[in-house]
Amino acid sequence: MVDLGTDATHPAREADDVRIALFRLMVRLRVFEKRAYDLFLQNLVKGTSHLGLGQEAIAAAFGLAMRPDDYTFCTYRGHDHTLARGVPMAPVMAELLGREGGLMAGKGGSMHLTSVEHGMMGSYAIVGAHLPIAAGAAWSAQVRGSGQVAVCFFGDGATNIGAFHEALNLAAIWKLPVVFVCENNLYMEYTPIGAVTAVEHPASDRASAYGLEPILVDGNDADLMFEVARATIDRARSGDGPSLVEAVTYRHGGHSRADPAKYRPASEEQEWLERDPVIVYRALLESSGVGSGTLTAIEAEAEAEIDEATELAKASPPSSVSLIERDVWSDGGSAWRS
C-alpha cells in the first residue's frame, strides 16, 4: 500500500498513483476473498464466513482515504475493511483457518477480525451494535483533539435497528467526527431490504431525520467512492460533524458461506455482475491510458501475495490450548493506549 501520510499530503484523486493504488487494493481484496472461498470449499476455513466479493470499491476507497490513525468499525463481512487498513493477508487468512498465527491467534475467526494497531477496531457480528461504538470512538477523538475520524461500515439491514437511530442522532447533535457508511447490497441477509423498510433508500432517505444531507452513491464506482470518502472524512476532520453515506452495491455470492442466494433473481445477479467494480475499474484505467502490462503486473503481484499468505497461514499450527484464557482480563500490559 502506498504511504498516504496525512490528509494534507494526500495525492489528488485524479492522479494516476491514487487510481493505481485503488486498483491494487481492490485486486488484493478480490484475490483474498476468492481464496477464502476456495479454502472454505476445502474445509480449511472453519465456521462461517461472509465474503465481500463485489463490494470491494467501498472498503478500498475509504481505506485509502483514511489516515493511518483513523478508526474502522465494520461488520462480520469485514475481511475487505481489515485488509484495506494495511493488515497483511497472512494473519487474516490464518485467523480464518483457526491458526495460532492468526490475527487474534484463532480466538475470533472470520466474523470478529480486529487489529487495533491498524486502527481496525473490530468486526461486529451483532447487527448494528457497532454504530454507537463508532460514535464513542469519534467522541474520544473530539475530546482529545486528535483529529482522528471514525468510519463505520454497516449493511442495509442495520438501518432498521434502534442503535442506528440512536447513534446517528447523537453523532449529529454532538457533531462527532464519524462517517457512517451503509453498504446497501439490497438484501438483509436473505430478505430484500425493500420488504422490511419503509423507504426506498434505507440510509439516505433517513438522513434528513438527523439534519444531514442525503448521500446516495454507486458503491461500485471506485472513483466516485474515493471522492465521497475524501469529502466526508474531510468534513468530519474539520469539525463539521458526521455524514451518512449510502453506497449501493451487490454481493456476488450469498449471505454466508453455504448460501447459494437462490432468492435473488438471475437477471438481477447478471446485471450486477456486469457492474463488477474491479472489472469496470480495470477497463476504465486501461481506457485512460494505463498500460495493460501495469495492470497485469498488479494482478500477478496480488496472486503471488495471496499464494504466499495462504502457505504461511496453512503452515501455522492450530491454536495452542494454552492461549484459551489469555487476554480475558487486562494484565496492565496492553500496548494499546497504556
Binding site: D38, F40, L41, Q42, N43, K46, G47, T48, Y76, G98, R99, E100, G102, A105, G106, K107, G108, G109, M111, H112, Y124, A125, I126, V127, G128, A129, G157, A158, N160, I161, G162, M188, E189, Y190, T191, A195, V196, T197, G254, H255, S256, R257, A258, D259, P260, Y263, P318, S319, S320, V321, L323, I324, E325, V328
Partner: protein
C-alpha cells in the same frame, strides 16, 4: 476444487432445507420443532410467528420453511433486524390474546432484546394480571465453530429473570412435546434449541396432535447406580456417550436430562442422588453462577445425607467462546472429561 464439506448442523446460515421424516418415521430435532410449530399453528389461529427471514426464506436454519405458503404472511411475519421491537411486538399482541412465537436467528441476539424480555415480558403479569403467552425461541450453544457472537448459552440470564420458563431440550421428541406445551402455556417461555443437535440427532417422534411433554419435568435418559450425571441440552448426548464408555469399564452412570432449567425439577434430581449418592453436574453454560451451580447447591442443601462424595461440576470457564477448533474443543466439556469426572467421584 474440493466439494463443499459442511458440518451437519454447523453454523447454519444457508444450510440445506429441513426435509422430512425418514421412511421409518424418524425426525431430526429440527424437524420435530418444525412439526410442533406447524401443528400448533393449525390448531389455534391465535398462534402466529414473527422473526428475521422466517417467511419467504424459511428461516436461517430452515425451521420455518413452507410455513408462509400454508399460513400466509399475516401469521408468518418477516421482521426487520430489530430484536427489541420483535419482543415488544410479541408482548403487545399477547396482551390482547394472540399467542406469538418469536424466532431469534441466534440465541445470542436475544441480548439485543434484553430489556423487553427481562424488564417487561418477565414482570408484566405480576403487576397487571394479564397473561403473556409468548414463546421466544432460537438456536443456542456451541460446538459448531461459530465463535463468540453465535454460540451463547443464555439460559442462566433468563432463568434468573423471575417470570420466564426456560426450556432446553436434548431430544427430538422432547423438543416437540415441550414446544407444543410452551405455545399452549399462558406464561412467557424461552425455548432454546441447541444448534449442534439440529441435524445430528433423530428418533421416532410421536405424531399425535396432542402429544405434549410437561414443562418443568426432568427425565432419566439412562438408568445407573454409581454416579448421577445431571445435565441438559447438547451435554446430554455427551453424557450418554460417556456413560456407555464407562459401562464397558464396569461403571454405572445415570443420566438425568433436566429438559427445563427453570422451573427446576428438584424431585427427579434428588431421587437420582438418593439412588447413586454421587453427583456430576454437567452444563454447557458457564460454571460461575450457571445452571450447574444452582443444581449443585440444591443437591448440597437437600440431599447432603445421601452424598458419598462432594458434588462435582463440569462446565466451561467464564471466557468468551473461542473460535479455533482446538480452543473450542478445550473450552467445552468433552466425553473424556465426563468419564474422568465420573471416575473421580466413583473413587470416593
Amino acid at each position: 476444487m474440493a466439494k463443499a464439506q459442511v458440518e451437519a448442523g454447523a453454523a447454519g446460515h444457508g444450510a440445506e432445507p429441513r426435509g422430512k421424516r425418514t421412511e421409518a418415521g424418524e425426525a431430526t430435532y429440527l424437524i420435530a420443532i418444525a412439526e410442533a410449530l406447524w401443528e400448533e399453528m393449525e390448531r389455534d389461529e391465535r398462534v402466529y410467528m414473527l422473526g428475521e427471514d422466517i417467511g419467504a426464506y424459511g428461516g436461517a436454519f430452515k425451521v420455518t420453511e413452507g410455513f408462509i405458503e400454508r399460513f400466509g404472511d399475516g401469521r408468518v411475519m418477516d421482521t426487520p433486524i430489530a430484536e427489541e421491537t420483535i419482543v415488544g411486538m410479541a408482548v403487545g399482541s399477547a396482551m390482547e390474546g394472540m399467542r406469538p412465537v418469536a424466532e431469534f436467528q441466534y440465541a445470542d441476539f436475544m441480548s439485543s432484546g434484553f430489556d423487553e424480555i427481562t424488564t417487561v415480558l418477565a414482570r408484566y403479569h405480576y403487576r397487571s394480571g394479564v397473561p403473556l403467552p409468548v414463546v421466544l425461541r432460537g438456536p443456542s450453544g456451541g460446538g459448531v465453530r461459530a465463535s463468540s457472537f453465535h454460540s451463547i448459552n443464555p439460559e442462566p440470564w433468563f432463568a434468573h429473570a423471575g417470570g420466564i420458563k426456560v426450556i432446553c431440550p436434548a431430544f427430538p421428541s422432547d423438543a416437540k412435546g415441550l414446544l407444543k406445551s410452551a405455545i399452549r402455556d399462558d406464561n412467557p417461555c424461552m425455548f432454546l434449541e441447541h444448534k449442534w443437535i439440529y441435524r445430528r440427532i433423530k428418533e421416532i417422534v410421536p405424531e399425535e396432535p396432542d402429544f405434549l411433554v410437561p414443562i418443568g419435568k426432568a427425565d432419566v435418559k439412562r438408568e445407573g447406580s454409581d454416579v448421577s450425571i445431571i445435565t441438559y441440552g447438547a451435554m446430554v448426548h455427551k453424557a450418554l456417550e460417556a456413560a456407555e464408555n464407562l459401562a464397558q469399564r464396569g461403571m454405572s452412570a445415570e443420566v438425568v436430562d433436566l429438559r427445563t432449567v427453570y422451573p427446576l425439577d428438584e424431585d427427579t434430581v434428588l431421587r437420582s442422588i438418593e439412588k447413586t449418592s454421587r453427583a456430576l453436574v454437567l452444563s454447557e453454560s458457564y460454571r460461575f453462577l450457571g445452571i450447574g451451580a444452582e443444581v449443585a447447591a440444591t443437591i448440597a442443601e437437600k440431599a447432603f445425607e445421601h452424598l458419598d462424595a462432594p458434588v462435582e461440576r463440569l462446565s466451561p470457564p467464564n471466557i468468551p467462546v473461542p473460535f479455533s477448533p482446538t480452543l473450542e474443543d478445550a473450552f467445552l466439556p468433552g466425553v473424556s472429561d465426563i468419564e474422568a469426572a465420573v471416575e473421580r467421584l466413583s473413587a470416593w
